[in-house]
Amino acid sequence: MSDKTSDAETADLETFRGETRVWLEANCPPEMRKPATSDADVFWGGRNAKFSSEPQRIWFERMRDKGWTVPDWPKEYGGGGLSPAEHKVLRAEMAKMGARPPLSSFGIWMLGPALLKYGNEAQKQEHLPKIAAGLIRWCQGYSEPNAGSDLASLQTRAESDGDDFVITGSKIWTSYANYADWIFCLVRTDSTAKKHDGISFILFDMTSKGVTTKPILLISGYSPFCETFFDNVRVPKSHVVGTVNRGWDVAKYLLQHERAMISGMGERGVGRPLGQIAADSVGTDALGRLDDAMLRGRIASFDVDEAALAACAERAVDLAKAGQAHPAFSSAMKYYGTELNKRRYEILMSAGGVDALEWESERSKQGARPRAWLRTKANSIEGGTTEVMLGIVAKRILDLPGA
């Protein structure tokens, strides 16, 4: 069934797998082979980045030097130049040893792919290598107080003034805007056009005059999101990605990547299997089964769905590689992945019982579990709500009328 070429490719891939395994084994510090349990365990890069530990620094630098903070980006932009198949192997090998991502960033997950597709050469040269090297931390200026699910109704204005745009308005739910160095932002450059047609996608420095941020305290007690205000912020027109007034295309493309990222959130930072975590707190019966039949059933159903979703995520990548993917499929994955992650945390809260209720104590790592549980409730809202995702599936994939 396989011809000579694919046999050779398979052999090359196996060589790559072997070499990768050896390299990771030699270079990934043992401390970096445990799941991240707090925000400090995640390295975001940026001008003010600090490493929370020496192993975190070592791991980041070694991976950066190999281009493996962004393994599948072209080498000329600081990437590893890996083929999709090699990238899949690297991910599998990292997952096998439990290696953490060396660098997390919206630059990697969202802006990078959009720049690779829509950016001009100067923009790629300027921004991609700095993302790959963790030098610049990005945030996303999409939602506004009156433009949530209906994102295209956004009102932040960019007025033309010579070679610049002058931007005024406000954004909300800007993740980590208070830590970010630069923002990729949707602005209205034509207020007379139909709502999707007057939007531009623009990049600017968060230290520009007129930018202020204000963290929003959430139910988790954390403030991962901000309100961000622009008061006559002057940005060169050359910072527009793609065509002026065609920013919605860039925005939608980026959203596909954002949705893929969010749907994969449940997979990241996963530690021990739920069944074992529950067994520790709930206890087991004489046969070694969880001493709570209903909880056990919920966990088992969750495990079935999680394994099936993992297969579907793998298939989605393979379909994309084969050119058979539906462009709106990331909405399907986003809907299911986020609902599943909420289920995971409902189970974790049930399993934890009283112990999962502590909000402030050393013992509970300052309420890590209940805070994470509350955080997951945003998963099915951010990046497009579950209801918006289902609407997209109904309209774009199922072609249902009037959706």
Binding site: A300, A307, A308, C312, E314, L319, L390, L398, D399, L400
Partner: protein, 379 residues
């Protein structure tokens, strides 16, 4: 291995789909049911199936088969699921052929496998005894007698049991119900003295039978595999069957879903196409995602079976569990969204609901397989 069909597999799918949709659409099942056809499937069509190489799809080429894998068997099963075609493919070509190929000695293989390949022999596995699928609870007794064994007990849900030329019977040669040790598979001639076969007309109008064995004598060379050690062989064969039924359920789910979406696009109420209502759109979208996820899980399981049957158990459990819940949801939404029409016998949707219910019980339902996964993961 990529989780997409290869070019060859896509061609196989197209030819199976062409043949089945042309010769055996749902109306084929309907007319077999309405005429109370004594065979319950089309022998003529089974012979064309054999000529296409489908009957011996899993049989090695040296025994006249096509020597293909479980992914390919799944491709055919999925097409069968789309039209609900009653066919010996599952019992004979997938389950029995796998049992003989994996457990048979040289003599058994060369006696039976070529006949399966050319479509002249129908065979089936008789496993279930109680109301639910519990393979280790097997209690049909096989006691040593002279040079062979004497079998006594009863089996239910024996697919194609009333037309099979060869029964593969799971029996207990040692130990007691619930134990892995002491299971043995026997090849039994359905015409042998003491075998009583009652065809059961089931809700889905597909073939099944209850079989009673009363002191049925078999000789020693009718043992398939090793005496007392049949559990491992059985595990593998059942997992192969589960993967196949899960594929049928994917085909069934997708077909009923497609028909339902078409209905949403054509039925008008309140002056609108009912597909414009968000309440229905979102339910349809959720169902679509469920089916896509299940399809991937099933494909994953079939690939795992092709890689190593002995290591595929967890993937298969996930696949069969998902296929069960997805198909159940798909047929229920199908009937509900078709409204009153969905309740009529004249409309085909009900056939899908009935077949899904039987597929769910075949080789273990979603609860059974979810439980298996929990045990495998040690909680």
């Amino acid at each position: 291995m990529a989780l997409v069909l290869t070019e060859e597999q896509s061609m196989l799918r197209d030819s199976a789909r062409g043949l089945i949709s042309d010769k055996a659409p749902v109306s084929h099942l309907r007319s077999l049911r309405d005429s109370k056809d004594p065979t319950g499937f089309s022998k003529e069509f089974w012979h064309s199936f054999a000529e296409m190489g489908f009957a011996g799809l899993l049989v090695p080429e040296e025994f006249g088969g096509s020597g293909l894998g479980y992914v390919e068997a799944g491709v055919v099963m999925e097409e069968i699921g789309r039209t609900l075609m009653p066919s010996p493919f599952l019992a004979t070509s997938v389950v029995a052929a796998s049992a003989l190929n994996r457990g048979g000695n040289a003599a058994q293989k060369s006696e039976y496998l070529p006949k399966i390949s050319n479509g002249s022999l129908l065979a089936t596995l008789a496993i279930d005894e109680g109301a639910k699928h519990r393979p280790l609870q097997t209690s049909l007794q096989a006691v040593r007698a002279g040079n062979g064994f004497r079998l006594s007990g009863a089996k239910a849900l024996v697919v194609d049991g009333h037309v099979a030329d060869l029964l593969i019977v799971a029996a207990r040669t040692a130990g007691s119900a619930g134990e892995r040790e002491g299971l043995t598979l026997f090849l039994v001639n359905p015409k042998a003295k003491g075998v009583a076969i009652e065809r059961t007309i089931m809700v889905d109008a597909h073939n099944a039978a209850r079989i009673d064995l009363a002191n049925v004598e078999v000789n020693a060379d009718s043992v398939l595999g090793e005496v007392d050690q049949g559990a491992t062989l059985l595990d593998g064969v059942l997992d192969i069957g589960r993967g196949a039924v899960a594929s049928e359920m994917v085909g069934l789910s997708e077909e009923v879903f497609n028909r339902t979406v078409e209905y949403l696009k054509s039925r008008k109420q309140f002056g609108k196409l009912i597909g414009e209502f968000q309440a229905l759109q979102h339910r349809a979208a959720e169902l679509y995602v469920d089916i896509e996820i299940t399809r991937a899980a099933v494909m994953k399981a079939l690939q795992a079976l092709d890689t190593d049957v002995a290591k595929a158990a967890s993937s298969v459990a996930v696949a069969k569990a998902r296929a069960g819940t997805t198909a159940t949801r798909a047929v229920q939404e199908g009937v509900q969204m078709h409204g009153g029409m969905g309740m009529t016998d004249q409309f085909d949707i009900g056939f899908f609901m009935k077949r899904a219910r039987v597929c769910e019980e075949l080789f273990g339902d979603a609860n059974y397989h979810t439980e298996q996964l929990a045990r495998a993961r040690g909680y």
